[in-house]
């Protein structure tokens, strides 16, 4: 039994650095030769699941299917290391948006929460003002835009406005934005909402490069920045105390060829005090108690009416799957009667007008 006063104090400690963690991971590239973008996304997805965030709190968007693509020599697998060492697709993956559903509009709707009412829960970002959100984008990009599905773009202005909407609607506590595309730093230049931290794999004017091809699969497997990011994340476990300053050091120019950048001026806390697991993991603080708590008394089950053996119930039967005679003699459906539409009415009016013009109005009384 926990007294009320103590629970309030504990609550203050719980909510100290963001309570629930929801996040979205997106990959925006189509076609088989963009295999590495899907591998990037899935490796980040895998790390985050390993650190404790459940599938119900992840919105995973993959713009094309690589695992079961007919060009994949090993179906249902997506590898991140050459020689097929690590299958990041795994056996327990839930993709929320796939294929043609990954569009700029859907992405912005997920972020701002303005989805049609029948959208299922797994496709919504159900964050509140105590959620820390991690957004990871990868694909092809340029100075100020990111390409979606090879046919549309999202600009950095749109993205900054979407984050401002999220801030106004209290949809996040703190947000970490990671982007691995060419000229990625241009995407976070326009942010203006508080509590945003951003990382990019390359500066404006630089290209992000891919890491290594695999000769059996025939495409490049990962991008350099995410490859070293994955290596860094593999060392993190739910109790580790690594902070963001170590994340900024991932993939220096010697390994990445491009210069990764980051932006922390909008973030209220000092990056050195922010733990990696605040964004990448879902660490719950648990207090164990030995006291029993009484739940409400169980509901008395209302007994079903006793089955009356004498009651004649109709015998059910299975339906005939192909009742030929019934089908042949099926009456055609009575078509609903529609009032005549404008064309017919106009035509008849014209005919009547011409008639009365020709023969004079005095004949009218003979007709009616």
């Amino acid at each position: 039994r926990v007294t009320r006063k103590r629970s309030v104090d504990k609550a203050g400690q719980f909510f100290g650095s963001g309570h629930t963690n929801n996040w979205a991971v997106t990959c925006t590239s189509q076609f088989w030769f963009n295999y590495r973008h899907v591998a990037n996304t899935l490796s980040v997805y895998r790390s985050v699941k390993r650190l404790g965030i459940p599938d119900s709190h992840i919105v995973l968007m993959l713009a094309d299917d690589m695992a079961c693509n007919h060009r994949n020599p090993k179906p249902a697998t997506v590898f991140s290391h050459k020689n097929m060492e690590l299958n990041v697709y795994g056996d327990d993956v839930e993709v929320d948006y796939r294929g043609y559903e990954v569009t700029v509009e859907n992405f912005l709707r997920v972020l701002t929460g303005r989805l049609p009412p029948s959208t299922p829960r797994s496709k919504r970002l159900l964050s509140d003002d105590r959620s820390n959100i991690l957004i990871y984008l990868t694909g092809h990009g340029g100075n100020g835009f990111l390409k979606f599905q090879d046919s549309e773009e999202i600009s950095n202005v749109e993205l900054a406005d979407a984050f401002e909407q999220m801030w106004q609607k209290r949809r996040y506590n703190e947000l970490l934005f990671i982007i691995d595309t060419c000229q990625g730093a241009s995407m976070y230049e326009r942010f203006y909402s508080p509590n945003l931290m951003a990382l990019a794999s390359s500066q404006v004017g630089e290209d992000s490069l891919s890491h290594q091809p695999d000769l059996a699969i025939g495409v490049h497997l990962m991008d350099r920045y995410t490859f070293y990011l994955l290596e860094f994340l593999e060392d993190i476990h739910p109790a580790s105390t690594t902070n963001m300053n170590d994340l900024f050091k991932v993939c220096p120019k010697s390994q990445c060829v491009s210069t990764p950048g980051h932006r922390t001026d909008l973030f209220l806390r000092d990056p050195g005090s922010v733990l990696i697991t605040d964004f990448f993991g879902s660490v719950r603080k648990v207090e164990i108690t030995m006291e029993t708590i009484n739940l409400t008394s169980p509901v008395e089950q209302v007994e079903d009416k006793p089955v009356d053996g004498d009651l004649q119930r109709e015998t059910h039967s299975y339906v005939d799957q192909l009742p030929v005679s019934e089908i042949i003699h099926q009456k055609p459906k009575q078509k609903d009667w529609h009032p005549p539409d404008g064309f017919i009415l106009g035509l008849w009016t014209l005919i009547l007008l011409v008639f009365f013009k020709t023969y004079g109005v005095k004949h009218l009384k003979h007709i009616f």
Partner: protein, 592 residues
């Protein structure tokens, strides 16, 4: 329903509250709280796996998981305590007043002529058909919400099902469960031929099973092996069934099926030897503890004395079943018996073939369908559907259902049905024309197929030009047309069992049979891929560049010519003359 195994979990009992723990700020009853075990409707779970070696060297494995529950979703009382039946599907049934739900996800196409008939047919891509209860007032709105909810449950893009690919068949797809009224206003059918099936669809499907993928037959479902196959299909079927042989009351049945065909060369490495470990990379160690029956059936009809292949470990249990119009013999492994697993505590059946010559031909499937697009160019074309009747002397009727998207404009006056070169008039035609961007074409015909013949249905069409925002991001791939559905009552070789509630293996009791001389079969043709005239999407950029260049060069030059004035200018003098002019200026003399 037969005898249950004794191994069932007991309902947990609510503990009596200890006297001293009543909280001070809540009302307590003075009498000690009584133990109340609520009376639960009975539910039952069965699982089975059927393995059928195919004549081409491939092997066909079919899993079926069946949960039967005697509850009433439609009654006034809200169902809140779920045990074996998955809660997500139960809530879908009660919220959307669903009478029957059939959804399937398939990768690959079933080759009837090489593999025979499947136990449960399914078209490539995703297919969903639902019968609603007759209490539903707005069927279209409920259908839209249902597809969205199912897309979340199965991680599939079912939200792309809308009025442009939904039809209301008038005679096909009669309910497979019990019922009296079949008003087709409450039926909706949609198919997404482009839908991809991958691990993300298998994961939530496995989570619907009572034992998940932890025990029983579901441990064999490893996605790396299942998707490396020629054919993979997973489906969920929900329908009301008879509770007992009297059929006075109904219970809800949920069947989850998974059919897979492993290829001899890609999965079998060319060697004609199949085992559970080779097919699934796992062996079985126990049955699902929540299952009342857990069996494996191996089709040994072509192997009565063991002359074709050798099956190990040997099993004494044999069972005969009438399925797909034929009496087949099966070797049965009962996983609820501990003896099945032997001393190694694991079961890995092995089928090893002996010499590979002199095999008898498999029985030719009596009904077979094909479809293709004929014609040339990007304006017109012709759809040909062929239906083969391989029975030597019996004719039987088939119901053909065709759903064609609105952007292929069918010319129904060119519809011809010919058998053996002569015109074959269908005895029933239902055609609903399409409406641009609203609904697709629906064509249903009841055609009598003469014995030993090919019936060809042809219809011409014209391709429409879409608005440029309606094209997919990769329009040069083409646009899919869903499979045609051929439903037929095929004459059977042996008498079918019409007693539907007898204890039968699951794979033989899916389609109810009303008469003994024929069985119901549904086959799907190939989906079509047609190219629509695709605009060049880079043209807007090119046009802007060209127009701006022409305007700048043409207009600019013309404007300059019209508005510029010209003046004559003295040429500047040479260097010597300029020096001389400077000296003369200094001297005060006029320049040269």
């Amino acid at each position: 329903l037969g005898t249950f195994e004794d191994r069932r979990w007991e309902a947990t009992e609510v503990e009596e509250a200890a006297p001293g723990d009543a909280p001070s700020d809540s009302q307590t009853s003075s009498a000690p709280e009584t133990v109340v075990t609520p009376s639960q409707p009975e539910d039952d779970f069965q699982e089975e796996l059927v393995i059928r070696p195919l004549h081409s060297g491939d092997i066909y494995a079919s899993f079926q998981f069946r949960t039967v529950w005697d509850t009433d979703f439609m009654g006034g009382k809200k169902v809140s305590h779920y045990r074996l039946f998955p809660k997500s599907l139960g809530q879908v049934i009660s919220k959307f007043s669903v009478r029957e739900l059939h959804i399937s996800f398939t990768q690959g196409y079933w080759r009837t002529m090489q593999w025979g008939q499947p136990f449960l047919p399914s078209p490539p891509g995703a297919e969903l058909w639902v019968w609603f209860q007759d209490t539903v007032t707005d069927v279209d709105g409920t259908w839209k919400e249902l597809t969205n909810v199912l897309s979340g449950i199965f991680c599939a893009s079912l939200n792309f099902i809308d009025s442009t690919n939904t039809v209301q068949p008038s005679a096909s797809f009669k309910p497979l469960g019990i019922g009296n009224v079949t008003d087709h206003r409450f039926l909706r059918y949609a198919t997404l031929p482009r839908e991809i099936v991958c691990t993300e669809n298998l994961t939530p499907w496995k989570k619907l099973l009572p034992c998940g993928s932890k025990a029983g037959l579901a441990v064999l479902m490893k996605s790396e092996k299942l998707f490396h196959s020629s054919f993979h299909s997973q489906a969920v079927h929900i329908r009301p069934v008879c509770q007992d042989w009297q059929c006075k009351s109904t219970s809800w049945e949920l069947r989850q099926t998974l059919n897979v065909v492993f290829d001899l060369h890609s999965s079998g490495q060319g060697k004609r030897e199949w085992s559970l470990f080779k097919m699934f990379s796992r062996t079985l160690t126990e049955a699902c503890p929540l299952a009342s029956s857990s069996k494996i059936y191996i089709d040994v009809t072509d192997n009565p004395q063991g002359e074709q292949f050798e099956l190990s470990p040997a099993t004494p249990l044999l069972s005969q079943a009438v399925v797909l119009g034929d009496r087949r013999t099966y070797s049965v492994y009962d996983l609820t018996q501990q003896a099945t697993f032997g001393s190694m505590r694991s079961l890995n059946m092995l089928l090893r073939w002996k010499s590979s010559d002199g095999e008898c031909d498999m029985m030719r499937p009596l009904l077979h369908g094909e479809r293709y697009v004929a014609g040339y160019g990007l304006q017109t074309g012709e759809i040909h559907t062929l239906m083969y009747n391989h029975h030597p002397y019996r004719a039987f009727p088939v119901l053909l259902l065709d759903t064609v998207p609105w952007y292929l404009r069918l010319y129904i006056h060119t519809l011809t049905v010919t058998s053996k070169g002569k015109d074959n008039k269908p005895s029933y035609i239902h055609y609903q024309p399409s409406k641009d961007r609203v609904r697709p074409h629906l064509l249903e015909m009841l055609v009598q197929l003469p014995p030993n013949s090919v019936t060809e249905v042809t219809v011409q069409f014209e391709r429409a030009l879409l608005k440029w925002t309606e094209y997919t991001p990769d329009p040069n791939h083409g646009f899919y047309v869903g499979s045609s559905v051929v439903s037929a009552l095929v004459p059977s070789v042996v008498a079918m069992d019409t007693n539907s509630t007898q204890e039968r293996p699951l794979f033989s009791s899916f389609f109810p049979s009303k008469e003994e001389s024929s069985y119901f079969v549904r086959i799907y043709t190939e989906p079509l891929l047609v190219n629509l005239p695709t605009p060049d999407f880079s043209m807007p950029y090119n046009v802007i560049c060209l127009t701006c260049t022409v305007v700048a060069v043409g207009y600019g030059s013309l404007y300059n010519l019209l508005t510029r004035t010209f003046q004559v200018e003295e040429p500047s003098p040479g260097l010597a003359k300029r020096l001389a002019n400077i000296i003369r200026k200094m001297r005060g003399v006029p320049p040269l």
